[in-house]
Symmetry: C2
Subunit: 156 residues, 2 copies
């Protein structure tokens, strides 16, 4: 299957997700060596999980399949440019590349808030819509000190 | 309990998470009406889940407890300024506010990549470290059309 074939499959999954009442109009696949190892559709409203975006669901499934927290050498296909949450998950999972179809502008036109969240993240914490309150910064160095002192730590 | 008490509890959870070998030096709590309804520590390397950051784990647990995908009226306490993935999750979950202790600079000094990911998200897709490949944008309007046509859709 080609890139276009995998994306077409994801688009069909996204349409079906809406028609079946399972959640928003988004789907994603993780592919490694030509095989699909993770599938996800948006399940926010049926799973009662605001993090259950298609990409997050697919990344988690692929990592379970591989038994690792990294997607080295994989491609993520997503029917829409990832929101900041999902783009963050991509950087932590580190696939080789991401193919996306619709854009964040298309998502915004359909009523999804991605574009606003991208804008928010460029603002300093004190200027955001959801108040960000700093507290106990000095005390919060203790976990980092414990981390530096823990010989068996696994970086990620 | 005050804001400082909840944060001190989270800091102790983060230290314990490291010492027990369960993952990175981070913890988070979701509190509503003075009661803790979600707890999370970083479990990336033990759960093999790159999305298992403390905030994501706590948000998911709180939503399960409430039976909803929104954290209206809640406070999220996190031992470190959220990374872009977790900040995105915050905007989708919509708590009333976020209290954070360490900063993204503190996280970077301890070897965590948050600051670099924030920089990446300000770049256009074609200029990012992980290649972003556009594909089938026109075909990908079909899920949005299905969404607009689906009368029982639930916005989120």
């Amino acid at each position: 299957m080609t890139d276009r074939d995998f994306m077409q499959t994801a688009i069909e999954m996204a349409v079906e997700n809406v028609r079946a009442g399972r959640g928003g109009p988004f789907a994603a696949l993780v592919v490694r060596d030509g095989a699909i190892i993770g599938r996800g559709t948006n399940q926010v409203t049926t799973a009662n999980d605001p993090t259950a975006h298609a990409e997050i669901v697919a990344i988690r499934e692929a990592c379970r399949a591989l038994g690792t927290f990294q997607l080295t050498g994989c491609t993520l296909y997503t029917t829409c440019e990832p929101c900041p949450m999902c783009m963050g998950a991509v950087y932590w999972a580190r696939p080789a590349r991401v193919c996306y179809a619709a854009t964040r502008a298309d998502a915004a036109a359909a009523g999804f808030d991605d574009a606003h969240i991208y804008e928010e993240l460029t603002r300093p914490p004190e200027a955001r819509r959801i108040p960000m309150v700093p507290l106990l910064r000095e005390e919060a160095q203790a976990p980092f000190e414990a981390w530096r002192a823990y010989p068996a730590r696994i970086a990620y």
